[in-house]
Protein backbone atom coordinates (compact mmCIF):
# COMPACT_ATOMS: atom_id res chain seq x y z
CA UNK A 1 0.00 0.00 0.00
CA UNK A 2 0.94 3.64 0.17
CA UNK A 3 3.97 4.50 2.28
CA UNK A 4 2.88 7.90 3.56
CA UNK A 5 -0.73 8.80 3.95
CA UNK A 6 -1.97 12.35 4.04
CA UNK A 7 -2.93 13.74 7.43
CA UNK A 8 -6.64 13.95 6.66
CA UNK A 9 -6.75 10.28 5.80
CA UNK A 10 -4.97 9.31 9.01
CA UNK A 11 -7.37 11.46 11.04
CA UNK A 12 -10.27 9.78 9.24
CA UNK A 13 -8.93 6.30 10.02
CA UNK A 14 -8.47 7.23 13.68
CA UNK A 15 -12.00 8.58 13.85
CA UNK A 16 -13.39 5.36 12.39
CA UNK A 17 -11.59 3.28 14.99
CA UNK A 18 -12.56 5.58 17.85
CA UNK A 19 -16.24 5.23 16.93
CA UNK A 20 -15.93 1.45 16.64
CA UNK A 21 -14.03 1.25 19.93
CA UNK A 22 -16.61 3.43 21.68
CA UNK A 23 -19.38 1.17 20.48
CA UNK A 24 -17.64 -2.03 21.57
CA UNK A 25 -16.56 -0.68 24.98
CA UNK A 26 -20.12 0.38 25.73
CA UNK A 27 -21.49 -2.93 24.50
CA UNK A 28 -19.22 -4.90 26.81
CA UNK A 29 -19.79 -2.54 29.72
CA UNK A 30 -23.53 -2.97 29.23
CA UNK A 31 -23.28 -6.76 29.31
CA UNK A 32 -20.84 -6.44 32.21
CA UNK A 33 -23.37 -4.39 34.19
CA UNK A 34 -25.94 -7.17 33.95
CA UNK A 35 -23.44 -9.84 35.05
CA UNK A 36 -22.07 -7.69 37.91
CA UNK A 37 -25.53 -6.82 39.12
CA UNK A 38 -26.58 -10.47 39.18
CA UNK A 39 -23.79 -11.20 41.69
CA UNK A 40 -24.28 -8.06 43.80
CA UNK A 41 -25.56 -8.02 47.38
CA UNK A 42 -26.44 -4.34 47.30
CA UNK A 43 -25.52 -1.94 44.51
CA UNK A 44 -26.65 1.64 44.91
CA UNK A 45 -24.73 4.76 44.01
CA UNK A 46 -21.25 3.22 43.74
CA UNK A 47 -19.00 1.97 40.97
CA UNK A 48 -19.01 -1.57 42.31
CA UNK A 49 -21.49 -3.39 44.53
CA UNK A 50 -21.07 -3.53 48.31
CA UNK A 51 -20.55 -7.29 48.29
CA UNK A 52 -20.80 -10.40 46.16
CA UNK A 53 -23.22 -13.29 46.35
CA UNK A 54 -24.63 -16.08 44.25
CA UNK A 55 -27.96 -16.23 46.03
CA UNK A 56 -29.86 -14.35 43.30
CA UNK A 57 -29.45 -17.29 41.00
CA UNK A 58 -31.17 -19.54 43.51
CA UNK A 59 -33.99 -17.09 44.10
CA UNK A 60 -34.39 -16.37 40.37
CA UNK A 61 -34.51 -20.11 39.73
CA UNK A 62 -37.45 -20.42 42.16
CA UNK A 63 -39.23 -17.15 41.40
CA UNK A 64 -39.27 -17.51 37.65
CA UNK A 65 -39.40 -21.33 37.63
CA UNK A 66 -36.42 -21.35 35.35
CA UNK A 67 -36.33 -25.13 35.07
CA UNK A 68 -39.82 -25.13 33.54
CA UNK A 69 -38.93 -22.18 31.31
CA UNK A 70 -35.76 -23.85 30.07
CA UNK A 71 -37.62 -27.08 29.30
CA UNK A 72 -40.34 -25.22 27.37
CA UNK A 73 -37.73 -23.15 25.54
CA UNK A 74 -35.78 -26.19 24.42
CA UNK A 75 -38.90 -28.13 23.47
CA UNK A 76 -40.05 -25.25 21.29
CA UNK A 77 -36.63 -24.61 19.82
CA UNK A 78 -35.86 -28.23 18.98
CA UNK A 79 -39.31 -28.79 17.51
CA UNK A 80 -38.83 -25.72 15.31
CA UNK A 81 -35.35 -26.84 14.25
CA UNK A 82 -36.49 -30.40 13.45
CA UNK A 83 -39.60 -29.33 11.56
CA UNK A 84 -37.85 -26.59 9.61
CA UNK A 85 -35.18 -29.13 8.58
CA UNK A 86 -37.82 -31.63 7.53
CA UNK A 87 -39.79 -29.10 5.49
CA UNK A 88 -37.06 -26.71 4.44
CA UNK A 89 -34.27 -28.93 3.14
CA UNK A 90 -36.41 -30.92 0.64
CA UNK A 91 -37.97 -27.66 -0.57
CA UNK A 92 -34.53 -26.09 -0.98
CA UNK A 93 -33.40 -29.16 -2.90
CA UNK A 94 -36.35 -28.88 -5.29
CA UNK A 95 -35.79 -25.15 -5.80
CA UNK A 96 -32.07 -25.61 -6.39
CA UNK A 97 -32.41 -28.46 -8.89
CA UNK A 98 -35.56 -27.76 -10.87
CA UNK A 99 -36.87 -24.97 -13.06
CA UNK A 100 -40.64 -24.96 -13.13
CA UNK A 101 -43.39 -22.50 -14.00
CA UNK A 102 -44.26 -20.31 -11.03
CA UNK A 103 -40.86 -20.70 -9.41
CA UNK A 104 -40.55 -16.93 -9.01
CA UNK A 105 -43.82 -16.83 -7.10
CA UNK A 106 -42.70 -19.67 -4.83
CA UNK A 107 -39.42 -17.85 -4.15
CA UNK A 108 -41.35 -14.68 -3.32
CA UNK A 109 -43.54 -16.73 -0.99
CA UNK A 110 -40.44 -17.79 0.95
CA UNK A 111 -38.84 -14.36 0.84
CA UNK A 112 -41.80 -12.42 2.25
CA UNK A 113 -41.83 -13.89 5.79
CA UNK A 114 -38.19 -12.82 6.12
CA UNK A 115 -38.85 -9.29 4.90
CA UNK A 116 -42.11 -8.50 6.69
CA UNK A 117 -41.38 -7.80 10.37
CA UNK A 118 -42.74 -10.39 12.85
CA UNK A 119 -44.98 -7.88 14.65
CA UNK A 120 -46.83 -7.09 11.42
CA UNK A 121 -47.75 -10.64 10.47
CA UNK A 122 -47.66 -11.85 14.08
CA UNK A 123 -50.86 -10.04 15.03
CA UNK A 124 -53.07 -11.52 12.26
CA UNK A 125 -51.33 -14.88 12.81
CA UNK A 126 -52.05 -14.77 16.55
CA UNK A 127 -55.68 -13.89 15.76
CA UNK A 128 -56.01 -16.92 13.49
CA UNK A 129 -54.28 -19.18 16.04
CA UNK A 130 -56.53 -18.00 18.86
CA UNK A 131 -59.65 -18.53 16.73
CA UNK A 132 -58.52 -22.07 15.89
CA UNK A 133 -57.77 -22.89 19.51
CA UNK A 134 -54.01 -23.11 19.03
CA UNK A 135 -53.32 -19.72 20.60
CA UNK A 136 -51.51 -19.94 23.91
CA UNK A 137 -50.49 -23.55 23.36
CA UNK A 138 -47.08 -24.98 22.67
CA UNK A 139 -48.22 -26.10 19.20
CA UNK A 140 -49.23 -22.53 18.43
CA UNK A 141 -45.85 -21.16 19.50
CA UNK A 142 -44.03 -23.76 17.40
CA UNK A 143 -46.25 -23.06 14.38
CA UNK A 144 -45.67 -19.31 14.64
CA UNK A 145 -41.90 -19.75 14.92
CA UNK A 146 -41.86 -21.96 11.82
CA UNK A 147 -42.97 -19.02 9.67
CA UNK A 148 -39.57 -17.31 9.61
CA UNK A 149 -37.56 -20.52 10.26
CA UNK A 150 -38.58 -22.59 7.22
CA UNK A 151 -37.89 -19.85 4.64
CA UNK A 152 -34.60 -19.10 6.38
CA UNK A 153 -33.46 -22.73 6.04
CA UNK A 154 -34.57 -22.75 2.39
CA UNK A 155 -32.74 -19.56 1.46
CA UNK A 156 -29.53 -20.61 3.22
CA UNK A 157 -29.63 -24.08 1.67
CA UNK A 158 -30.40 -23.18 -1.97
CA UNK A 159 -26.94 -21.80 -2.86
CA UNK A 160 -25.36 -24.57 -0.85
CA UNK A 161 -27.19 -27.28 -2.83
CA UNK A 162 -26.54 -25.48 -6.11
CA UNK A 163 -22.82 -25.80 -5.62
CA UNK A 164 -23.04 -29.60 -5.27
CA UNK A 165 -22.41 -31.04 -8.71
CA UNK A 166 -25.56 -32.83 -10.00
CA UNK A 167 -23.23 -35.25 -11.83
CA UNK A 168 -22.51 -36.90 -8.49
CA UNK A 169 -26.17 -37.80 -8.11
CA UNK A 170 -26.39 -38.91 -11.73
CA UNK A 171 -23.34 -41.14 -11.23
CA UNK A 172 -24.99 -42.77 -8.23
CA UNK A 173 -28.12 -43.35 -10.32
CA UNK A 174 -26.07 -44.87 -13.13
CA UNK A 175 -24.58 -47.32 -10.66
CA UNK A 176 -28.09 -48.34 -9.66
CA UNK A 177 -28.64 -46.55 -6.36
CA UNK A 178 -32.28 -46.31 -5.31
CA UNK A 179 -33.66 -42.94 -4.26
CA UNK A 180 -33.37 -43.96 -0.63
CA UNK A 181 -29.73 -45.09 -0.97
CA UNK A 182 -28.94 -42.01 -3.03
CA UNK A 183 -30.28 -39.88 -0.22
CA UNK A 184 -28.54 -41.74 2.64
CA UNK A 185 -25.16 -42.36 1.03
CA UNK A 186 -24.71 -39.44 -1.36
CA UNK A 187 -26.91 -36.46 -0.57
CA UNK A 188 -26.96 -36.58 3.20
CA UNK A 189 -23.17 -36.50 3.69
CA UNK A 190 -22.85 -33.70 1.13
CA UNK A 191 -25.68 -31.65 2.62
CA UNK A 192 -24.64 -32.10 6.22
CA UNK A 193 -22.27 -29.12 6.60
CA UNK A 194 -24.71 -26.66 5.05
CA UNK A 195 -27.68 -28.09 6.89
CA UNK A 196 -25.83 -27.94 10.19
CA UNK A 197 -25.00 -24.27 9.65
CA UNK A 198 -28.56 -23.39 8.63
CA UNK A 199 -30.11 -25.26 11.54
CA UNK A 200 -27.76 -23.78 14.13
CA UNK A 201 -28.68 -20.32 12.87
CA UNK A 202 -32.37 -21.21 13.15
CA UNK A 203 -31.73 -22.46 16.68
CA UNK A 204 -30.04 -19.24 17.80
CA UNK A 205 -32.67 -17.11 16.09
CA UNK A 206 -35.54 -19.05 17.64
CA UNK A 207 -34.16 -18.77 21.18
CA UNK A 208 -34.00 -15.01 20.71
CA UNK A 209 -37.29 -14.70 18.77
CA UNK A 210 -39.33 -12.44 21.00
CA UNK A 211 -42.23 -10.98 19.02
CA UNK A 212 -43.86 -14.12 17.61
CA UNK A 213 -43.55 -16.10 20.82
CA UNK A 214 -44.79 -13.14 22.84
CA UNK A 215 -47.89 -12.76 20.67
CA UNK A 216 -48.80 -16.46 20.63
CA UNK A 217 -47.64 -17.85 23.98
CA UNK A 218 -49.89 -18.58 26.93
CA UNK A 219 -48.88 -19.09 30.56
CA UNK A 220 -47.58 -22.63 29.97
CA UNK A 221 -45.83 -22.00 26.69
CA UNK A 222 -43.62 -19.02 27.47
CA UNK A 223 -40.02 -19.19 26.44
CA UNK A 224 -37.13 -17.70 28.36
CA UNK A 225 -36.99 -14.45 26.39
CA UNK A 226 -40.71 -13.77 26.84
CA UNK A 227 -40.49 -14.44 30.59
CA UNK A 228 -37.52 -12.07 30.72
CA UNK A 229 -39.60 -9.40 29.01
CA UNK A 230 -42.39 -9.76 31.55
CA UNK A 231 -39.87 -9.63 34.39
CA UNK A 232 -38.29 -6.41 33.07
CA UNK A 233 -41.74 -4.99 32.29
CA UNK A 234 -42.86 -5.54 35.89
CA UNK A 235 -39.57 -4.24 37.28
CA UNK A 236 -39.98 -3.09 40.87
CA UNK A 237 -41.99 -6.16 41.78
CA UNK A 238 -38.80 -8.16 42.12
CA UNK A 239 -35.21 -7.31 42.99
CA UNK A 240 -33.19 -6.02 40.04
CA UNK A 241 -30.48 -8.56 40.81
CA UNK A 242 -32.97 -11.39 40.48
CA UNK A 243 -34.02 -10.19 37.01
CA UNK A 244 -30.37 -9.79 36.09
CA UNK A 245 -29.62 -13.34 37.23
CA UNK A 246 -32.37 -14.51 34.91
CA UNK A 247 -30.95 -12.35 32.13
CA UNK A 248 -27.55 -14.02 32.65
CA UNK A 249 -29.17 -17.47 32.39
CA UNK A 250 -30.82 -16.37 29.14
CA UNK A 251 -27.53 -14.93 27.91
CA UNK A 252 -25.69 -18.19 28.64
CA UNK A 253 -28.25 -20.38 26.85
CA UNK A 254 -27.96 -18.15 23.79
CA UNK A 255 -24.19 -17.76 23.91
CA UNK A 256 -23.48 -21.49 24.21
CA UNK A 257 -25.32 -22.09 20.96
CA UNK A 258 -23.81 -19.02 19.37
CA UNK A 259 -20.31 -20.33 20.09
CA UNK A 260 -21.24 -23.72 18.65
CA UNK A 261 -22.77 -22.01 15.61
CA UNK A 262 -19.74 -19.80 15.03
CA UNK A 263 -17.57 -22.87 14.61
CA UNK A 264 -19.51 -23.66 11.46
CA UNK A 265 -20.65 -20.30 10.09
CA UNK A 266 -19.23 -16.90 9.39
CA UNK A 267 -20.72 -14.14 11.57
CA UNK A 268 -21.86 -12.24 8.47
CA UNK A 269 -24.11 -15.24 7.75
CA UNK A 270 -26.06 -14.39 10.88
CA UNK A 271 -27.59 -11.48 9.03
CA UNK A 272 -27.18 -12.25 5.36
CA UNK A 273 -28.73 -15.33 3.99
CA UNK A 274 -27.13 -16.72 0.93
CA UNK A 275 -23.37 -16.40 0.83
CA UNK A 276 -21.65 -19.23 -0.92
CA UNK A 277 -18.72 -20.60 1.06
CA UNK A 278 -16.00 -21.01 -1.50
CA UNK A 279 -16.39 -21.41 -5.20
Amino acid sequence: MQTSRPLTERAWVTLVWVVTGFFIVNLFAMIGTVVTSSFATRWLGTWLPAGWTGKWYLSAWDEFQLDDLLIVTFEVVFAVVALSALLGIPAAYALARREFPGKQIVMLLFLLPLLVPPVTYGIPLATVLYKSGLGGTMAGVIAANLVPAVPFVILVMIPFIEQIDPKIEQAARVFGASTFRLFIHVLLPLLLPGALAALLLVLVRTIAMFELTFLTAGPGSQTLVVALYYAVFAAGVRAVQSIDAMAVVYMLTTLIWLIVALRFVNPTQMVTRAKQQQT
Partner: protein, 297 residues
Protein backbone atom coordinates in the same frame (compact mmCIF):
# COMPACT_ATOMS: atom_id res chain seq x y z
CA UNK B 1 -58.25 -42.00 -33.93
CA UNK B 2 -55.68 -40.42 -36.13
CA UNK B 3 -52.91 -42.99 -36.42
CA UNK B 4 -50.67 -40.75 -38.48
CA UNK B 5 -49.86 -38.73 -35.38
CA UNK B 6 -47.71 -40.12 -32.62
CA UNK B 7 -49.81 -40.45 -29.46
CA UNK B 8 -49.32 -37.54 -27.05
CA UNK B 9 -46.89 -38.40 -24.25
CA UNK B 10 -48.30 -39.36 -20.88
CA UNK B 11 -49.31 -36.57 -18.53
CA UNK B 12 -46.44 -37.31 -16.18
CA UNK B 13 -43.91 -36.96 -18.97
CA UNK B 14 -45.42 -33.72 -20.23
CA UNK B 15 -45.31 -32.30 -16.71
CA UNK B 16 -41.74 -33.51 -16.30
CA UNK B 17 -40.80 -31.66 -19.48
CA UNK B 18 -42.13 -28.50 -17.81
CA UNK B 19 -40.02 -29.26 -14.77
CA UNK B 20 -42.81 -30.67 -12.63
CA UNK B 21 -41.80 -34.08 -11.33
CA UNK B 22 -41.52 -35.83 -7.98
CA UNK B 23 -38.54 -33.71 -6.94
CA UNK B 24 -40.44 -30.49 -7.59
CA UNK B 25 -43.22 -31.72 -5.35
CA UNK B 26 -40.80 -31.60 -2.43
CA UNK B 27 -41.39 -27.86 -2.37
CA UNK B 28 -45.08 -28.37 -1.60
CA UNK B 29 -45.09 -29.05 2.16
CA UNK B 30 -43.04 -25.95 2.92
CA UNK B 31 -45.07 -23.83 0.51
CA UNK B 32 -48.33 -25.04 2.04
CA UNK B 33 -47.03 -24.21 5.52
CA UNK B 34 -46.23 -20.64 4.50
CA UNK B 35 -49.57 -20.28 2.74
CA UNK B 36 -51.40 -21.54 5.84
CA UNK B 37 -49.42 -19.62 8.46
CA UNK B 38 -48.40 -16.48 6.59
CA UNK B 39 -50.53 -15.77 3.52
CA UNK B 40 -53.84 -16.94 4.94
CA UNK B 41 -53.51 -15.01 8.25
CA UNK B 42 -52.52 -11.92 6.30
CA UNK B 43 -55.51 -12.14 3.99
CA UNK B 44 -57.76 -13.00 6.92
CA UNK B 45 -56.40 -9.96 8.76
CA UNK B 46 -57.10 -7.80 5.72
CA UNK B 47 -60.65 -9.15 5.54
CA UNK B 48 -61.13 -8.74 9.29
CA UNK B 49 -59.91 -5.15 9.18
CA UNK B 50 -62.87 -4.29 6.94
CA UNK B 51 -65.33 -5.90 9.36
CA UNK B 52 -65.10 -3.76 12.47
CA UNK B 53 -67.26 -4.14 15.54
CA UNK B 54 -69.60 -1.32 14.47
CA UNK B 55 -70.49 -3.11 11.23
CA UNK B 56 -69.29 -0.47 8.77
CA UNK B 57 -66.67 -1.28 6.12
CA UNK B 58 -64.06 1.35 6.74
CA UNK B 59 -64.83 1.91 10.43
CA UNK B 60 -61.40 0.83 11.62
CA UNK B 61 -59.53 2.97 9.13
CA UNK B 62 -61.74 5.97 9.84
CA UNK B 63 -61.11 5.44 13.54
CA UNK B 64 -57.37 5.08 13.01
CA UNK B 65 -56.98 8.20 10.90
CA UNK B 66 -59.22 10.39 13.04
CA UNK B 67 -57.73 9.56 16.46
CA UNK B 68 -54.40 11.35 16.96
CA UNK B 69 -53.51 8.77 19.62
CA UNK B 70 -53.61 6.18 16.81
CA UNK B 71 -52.52 7.95 13.61
CA UNK B 72 -49.84 9.83 15.52
CA UNK B 73 -48.02 6.53 15.99
CA UNK B 74 -47.03 6.49 12.31
CA UNK B 75 -45.18 9.77 12.65
CA UNK B 76 -43.60 8.77 15.95
CA UNK B 77 -42.39 5.48 14.53
CA UNK B 78 -41.00 7.10 11.38
CA UNK B 79 -39.32 9.77 13.51
CA UNK B 80 -37.48 6.95 15.31
CA UNK B 81 -36.89 4.51 12.48
CA UNK B 82 -35.70 6.81 9.68
CA UNK B 83 -32.95 8.70 11.60
CA UNK B 84 -31.74 5.47 13.20
CA UNK B 85 -31.53 3.63 9.89
CA UNK B 86 -29.68 6.50 8.20
CA UNK B 87 -27.29 6.89 11.14
CA UNK B 88 -26.55 3.16 11.22
CA UNK B 89 -25.84 3.19 7.51
CA UNK B 90 -23.59 6.27 7.75
CA UNK B 91 -21.63 4.66 10.58
CA UNK B 92 -21.45 1.26 8.92
CA UNK B 93 -20.07 2.34 5.53
CA UNK B 94 -16.72 3.87 6.62
CA UNK B 95 -16.15 1.17 9.23
CA UNK B 96 -16.88 -1.58 6.73
CA UNK B 97 -14.37 0.04 4.35
CA UNK B 98 -11.69 -0.12 7.04
CA UNK B 99 -12.53 -3.61 8.27
CA UNK B 100 -12.51 -5.00 4.74
CA UNK B 101 -8.71 -4.74 4.73
CA UNK B 102 -8.30 -6.25 8.21
CA UNK B 103 -6.91 -9.73 8.61
CA UNK B 104 -8.66 -10.51 11.90
CA UNK B 105 -12.11 -9.52 10.71
CA UNK B 106 -13.62 -12.47 12.46
CA UNK B 107 -12.97 -11.18 15.99
CA UNK B 108 -14.76 -7.91 15.26
CA UNK B 109 -17.64 -9.54 13.40
CA UNK B 110 -18.06 -12.03 16.25
CA UNK B 111 -18.25 -9.22 18.80
CA UNK B 112 -20.77 -7.35 16.68
CA UNK B 113 -22.97 -10.39 16.21
CA UNK B 114 -23.47 -10.50 20.01
CA UNK B 115 -26.17 -7.81 20.36
CA UNK B 116 -28.08 -9.28 17.39
CA UNK B 117 -28.07 -12.74 18.94
CA UNK B 118 -28.90 -11.59 22.45
CA UNK B 119 -31.90 -9.68 21.17
CA UNK B 120 -33.70 -6.50 22.05
CA UNK B 121 -35.09 -7.67 25.39
CA UNK B 122 -31.68 -8.38 26.87
CA UNK B 123 -30.27 -5.16 25.43
CA UNK B 124 -33.15 -3.31 27.07
CA UNK B 125 -32.42 -4.85 30.47
CA UNK B 126 -28.70 -4.09 30.11
CA UNK B 127 -29.39 -0.53 29.05
CA UNK B 128 -31.71 0.11 31.99
CA UNK B 129 -28.79 -0.71 34.28
CA UNK B 130 -25.96 0.73 32.27
CA UNK B 131 -27.47 3.99 31.02
CA UNK B 132 -29.59 4.57 34.15
CA UNK B 133 -28.89 7.56 36.41
CA UNK B 134 -26.67 5.39 38.65
CA UNK B 135 -25.20 3.33 35.83
CA UNK B 136 -21.59 3.12 34.76
CA UNK B 137 -22.13 5.32 31.73
CA UNK B 138 -23.45 8.27 33.70
CA UNK B 139 -20.80 7.75 36.38
CA UNK B 140 -18.11 7.92 33.71
CA UNK B 141 -19.68 11.03 32.16
CA UNK B 142 -19.79 12.77 35.55
CA UNK B 143 -16.30 11.66 36.56
CA UNK B 144 -14.92 13.02 33.32
CA UNK B 145 -16.70 16.29 34.07
CA UNK B 146 -18.75 16.22 30.86
CA UNK B 147 -21.93 16.83 32.78
CA UNK B 148 -22.75 17.72 36.37
CA UNK B 149 -26.08 15.89 36.47
CA UNK B 150 -26.80 12.39 35.17
CA UNK B 151 -27.94 12.39 31.55
CA UNK B 152 -31.46 11.14 31.04
CA UNK B 153 -30.88 8.28 28.64
CA UNK B 154 -33.64 5.80 29.41
CA UNK B 155 -37.44 5.95 29.55
CA UNK B 156 -37.50 8.45 26.71
CA UNK B 157 -36.88 8.84 22.98
CA UNK B 158 -33.10 8.67 23.46
CA UNK B 159 -33.33 5.29 25.17
CA UNK B 160 -35.18 3.68 22.28
CA UNK B 161 -32.88 5.42 19.81
CA UNK B 162 -29.75 4.04 21.51
CA UNK B 163 -31.21 0.54 21.69
CA UNK B 164 -31.99 0.65 17.97
CA UNK B 165 -28.39 1.67 17.29
CA UNK B 166 -27.04 -1.13 19.51
CA UNK B 167 -28.99 -3.85 17.71
CA UNK B 168 -29.29 -2.14 14.32
CA UNK B 169 -25.74 -0.96 13.74
CA UNK B 170 -24.15 -4.45 13.88
CA UNK B 171 -26.85 -5.75 11.54
CA UNK B 172 -26.28 -2.93 9.05
CA UNK B 173 -22.52 -3.24 9.35
CA UNK B 174 -22.40 -6.99 8.71
CA UNK B 175 -24.68 -6.59 5.73
CA UNK B 176 -22.62 -3.76 4.22
CA UNK B 177 -19.43 -5.72 4.88
CA UNK B 178 -20.76 -8.76 3.05
CA UNK B 179 -21.77 -6.59 0.06
CA UNK B 180 -18.41 -4.87 0.09
CA UNK B 181 -16.40 -8.09 0.14
CA UNK B 182 -18.48 -9.17 -2.86
CA UNK B 183 -16.93 -6.41 -4.98
CA UNK B 184 -13.97 -7.70 -6.94
CA UNK B 185 -10.80 -6.01 -5.56
CA UNK B 186 -9.39 -6.06 -9.10
CA UNK B 187 -11.65 -3.13 -10.01
CA UNK B 188 -10.24 -0.97 -7.26
CA UNK B 189 -6.67 -2.00 -8.08
CA UNK B 190 -7.24 -1.07 -11.71
CA UNK B 191 -8.40 2.39 -10.64
CA UNK B 192 -5.38 2.72 -8.35
CA UNK B 193 -3.05 1.72 -11.19
CA UNK B 194 -4.58 4.46 -13.30
CA UNK B 195 -3.74 6.92 -10.54
CA UNK B 196 -7.06 7.34 -8.69
CA UNK B 197 -6.63 8.43 -5.07
CA UNK B 198 -8.58 6.81 -2.23
CA UNK B 199 -11.36 9.38 -2.33
CA UNK B 200 -11.73 9.11 -6.09
CA UNK B 201 -11.76 5.31 -5.96
CA UNK B 202 -14.50 5.45 -3.35
CA UNK B 203 -16.51 8.06 -5.24
CA UNK B 204 -16.27 6.59 -8.74
CA UNK B 205 -15.70 2.85 -8.31
CA UNK B 206 -16.83 1.44 -4.99
CA UNK B 207 -19.79 3.62 -4.11
CA UNK B 208 -21.66 3.10 -7.40
CA UNK B 209 -21.13 -0.65 -7.10
CA UNK B 210 -22.25 -0.61 -3.48
CA UNK B 211 -25.42 1.46 -3.95
CA UNK B 212 -27.70 -1.50 -4.84
CA UNK B 213 -26.52 -3.31 -1.69
CA UNK B 214 -26.96 -0.16 0.38
CA UNK B 215 -30.53 0.11 -0.89
CA UNK B 216 -31.31 -3.40 0.31
CA UNK B 217 -29.50 -2.77 3.60
CA UNK B 218 -31.49 0.40 4.15
CA UNK B 219 -34.75 -1.47 3.56
CA UNK B 220 -33.92 -4.36 5.89
CA UNK B 221 -32.63 -2.01 8.59
CA UNK B 222 -35.65 0.23 8.27
CA UNK B 223 -38.10 -2.68 8.45
CA UNK B 224 -36.48 -3.81 11.70
CA UNK B 225 -36.43 -0.34 13.22
CA UNK B 226 -39.99 0.41 12.16
CA UNK B 227 -41.32 -2.70 13.89
CA UNK B 228 -39.56 -1.85 17.17
CA UNK B 229 -41.62 -3.19 20.02
CA UNK B 230 -39.98 -4.47 23.23
CA UNK B 231 -37.44 -1.67 23.54
CA UNK B 232 -40.08 1.00 22.90
CA UNK B 233 -42.03 -0.36 25.86
CA UNK B 234 -39.14 -1.09 28.22
CA UNK B 235 -36.78 1.79 27.40
CA UNK B 236 -39.10 4.42 26.09
CA UNK B 237 -42.14 6.33 27.17
CA UNK B 238 -44.78 3.97 25.76
CA UNK B 239 -47.60 6.40 26.47
CA UNK B 240 -45.82 9.41 24.99
CA UNK B 241 -43.04 10.07 22.51
CA UNK B 242 -42.22 6.42 21.83
CA UNK B 243 -45.75 5.13 21.43
CA UNK B 244 -44.85 3.34 18.22
CA UNK B 245 -47.31 1.73 15.86
CA UNK B 246 -46.64 -1.83 17.07
CA UNK B 247 -47.62 -0.78 20.61
CA UNK B 248 -50.92 0.55 19.26
CA UNK B 249 -51.52 -2.73 17.40
CA UNK B 250 -50.61 -4.81 20.45
CA UNK B 251 -52.88 -2.80 22.74
CA UNK B 252 -55.81 -3.10 20.36
CA UNK B 253 -55.40 -6.87 20.11
CA UNK B 254 -54.44 -7.94 23.61
CA UNK B 255 -55.76 -5.20 25.87
CA UNK B 256 -59.01 -4.22 24.12
CA UNK B 257 -59.44 -7.60 22.38
CA UNK B 258 -60.43 -5.72 19.21
CA UNK B 259 -58.73 -8.02 16.70
CA UNK B 260 -60.41 -6.19 13.86
CA UNK B 261 -58.83 -2.85 14.75
CA UNK B 262 -55.51 -4.58 15.52
CA UNK B 263 -55.53 -6.16 12.07
CA UNK B 264 -56.29 -2.78 10.52
CA UNK B 265 -53.29 -1.26 12.34
CA UNK B 266 -51.09 -4.15 11.18
CA UNK B 267 -52.25 -3.50 7.60
CA UNK B 268 -51.47 0.21 7.91
CA UNK B 269 -48.04 -0.78 9.22
CA UNK B 270 -47.45 -3.10 6.27
CA UNK B 271 -48.56 -0.35 3.88
CA UNK B 272 -46.17 2.24 5.35
CA UNK B 273 -43.33 -0.29 5.13
CA UNK B 274 -44.23 -1.04 1.53
CA UNK B 275 -44.27 2.64 0.57
CA UNK B 276 -40.84 3.31 2.13
CA UNK B 277 -39.29 0.13 0.70
CA UNK B 278 -40.62 0.83 -2.81
CA UNK B 279 -39.37 4.42 -2.57
CA UNK B 280 -35.92 3.27 -1.43
CA UNK B 281 -35.67 0.66 -4.16
CA UNK B 282 -36.75 3.05 -6.90
CA UNK B 283 -34.09 5.52 -5.77
CA UNK B 284 -31.64 2.63 -5.97
CA UNK B 285 -32.67 1.92 -9.55
CA UNK B 286 -31.48 5.36 -10.59
CA UNK B 287 -27.93 4.15 -9.96
CA UNK B 288 -25.71 1.65 -11.69
CA UNK B 289 -26.93 -1.91 -11.76
CA UNK B 290 -24.75 -4.69 -12.98
CA UNK B 291 -22.03 -7.12 -12.10
CA UNK B 292 -19.65 -6.19 -9.31
CA UNK B 293 -16.90 -8.44 -10.59
CA UNK B 294 -14.08 -7.63 -12.96
CA UNK B 295 -14.22 -8.46 -16.64
CA UNK B 296 -11.83 -10.96 -18.10
CA UNK B 297 -8.81 -11.52 -15.84
Amino acid sequence: MNDAHTPPPALGMRLAAMGLDAVTLLVLPAALLIVALFVYPFLYGLWLSFHPKDGSTFGNYVKFFSDPFLYGTIGKTLWLALPVTVLNLLLAIPIAFRVRRMRNQRILTTILVLPITLGTVLVAEGMLNYFGPQGWFNRAVMTLGLSSTPLKLVHNYTGVFISLVITGFPFTFLLVLSYLTGIDPVLEQAAATLGAKTAARFRHILLPLLVPGLGVTFCLGFVQAFSVFPSAVLLGAPAGPTRVISIAAYEAAFEHYDYSLASAIAMVMALVLLVIVVAALSVRNLFYRGPASGGKG
